[in-house]
Amino acid sequence: MFAEMMATALLALGAENLLFAGGSGFSRALRSARRPAAAGRYALLVAWFSLASALIGFRPLPPFGTGGEALRPACFAAAAAGVYAATAALLRFLLPALYRRVSGLLAPAAVNTVVLAMPYVRRSFSFGPAAAAGYALGTGLAFYLASLLLAGAEPKCRNADMPAAFRGLPAAFLYVGILSMAFAGFTGGRVF
């Protein structure tokens, strides 16, 4: 069981490959990097939503015919929306102090879960409890590492010596572009 969990965690750590080599989930990783103090909490929430969505949403769906390809991601997103609503409601009414601390991170973490799960969803994976825990661990860790890497780049991208037009977001795009080029060198251009 432990081996299965760790193998799935490693597989999910490939989501980091998705973040950098593929750019998937980059919008939210960039926002998380702007608040490095909250990156740990953000990653924990990503791991929680990944666990719950994997247990609920990773089900081999019946063949829907030609529209099946479109219905599978829609069903998974709906499952993630349900998990978000249940988590937010429980925290809000049972642990209001904790809710106040994480309320700003809950929704982006839930949405990011859908983004990072999409390769699995397209392949119609289904996880048992151990594999789901490994998947959640790997996804949370991948997101945390990506946020840390981007947080280190933030001050560099605002360097005053840079031409004003490139300062900030344009420099961040170029930084990730170069990083992504290096990842493409390792993966041979294959994303996931």
Binding site: A70, R72, A77, A110, V111, S180, M181
Partner: protein
């Protein structure tokens, strides 16, 4: 009459912000994955743009009419649910208009459900604005997204195949279809827009200075 004029000017400004000055991709860094990974030709750019419009428009309008009925904490889940519900129809319509386009986009098509540009406009903007403003915003953002998608698609198409409609050049090589090339191009486009926005702000400040001596 005066109110209609004000409404029209307001809608125009919202539309232009979405289209250019506050472009969701180049200023907001939203909805990046489909562009960097899938906008590899003019055809895929057209498919992405169509899918974006077909999701942004209904999601925006539904949240505009019913968003305020849901408590604030529940709204993100509602947006995700509405987007998931709209996606199969949007994908079917996009496939009908551009046959084979949605399956050609691969994973990027499914990710349009939680595209951060569509999501953030539907969650933050739509519930608190009137339908005319939401429509202007949805069209502006869709055109802004499409503009970037077509630029990336055309440049990559030119690089990969050496040809654009009406122009034939020798192909420059592969690798340009990978996401890193999309990020590098986005970097230069975002810098161009940042430069334009700074010039615009400087001119506005000069005009103000002339008016108030």
């Amino acid at each position: 009459m005066k109110r209609n004029g004000q409404l029209l000017r307001g809608a125009r400004s919202i539309f232009l912000n979405g289209l250019l000055f506050r472009n969701p991709v180049l200023v907001g860094a939203l909805g990046l994955y489909p562009l960097v990974a899938a906008a590899r030709s003019v055809g895929s750019a057209a498919a992405l743009s169509l899918l974006f419009l077909l999701l942004a428009l209904p999601c925006g309008l539904i949240l505009c009419f019913f968003g305020m009925l849901a408590p604030r904490w529940f709204r993100p889940g509602l947006v995700l649910l509405v987007s998931a519900a709209c996606y199969p129809a949007a994908a079917a319509l996009a496939d009908l208009l551009l046959p084979g386009s949605v399956s050609g986009l691969g994973m990027a098509a499914g990710l349009m459900i939680c595209n951060s540009a569509v999501y953030s406009r539907a969650e933050e903007y739509a519930p608190e604005h009137v339908a005319a403003a939401v429509l202007a915003d949805a069209f502006g953002c869709s055109l802004g997204f499409a503009g970037v998608a077509f630029l990336l698609g055309a440049l990559r198409g030119l690089w990969l195949t050496g040809s654009l409609p009406g122009a034939v050049l020798p192909p420059a090589g592969k690798g340009f279809d990978l996401p890193f090339a999309g990020f590098l191009m986005l970097g230069f486009l975002a810098a161009l827009l940042q430069w334009l926005n700074r010039r615009r702000a400087e001119r506005a400040a000069e005009r103000l200075k002339r008016r108030i001596p």
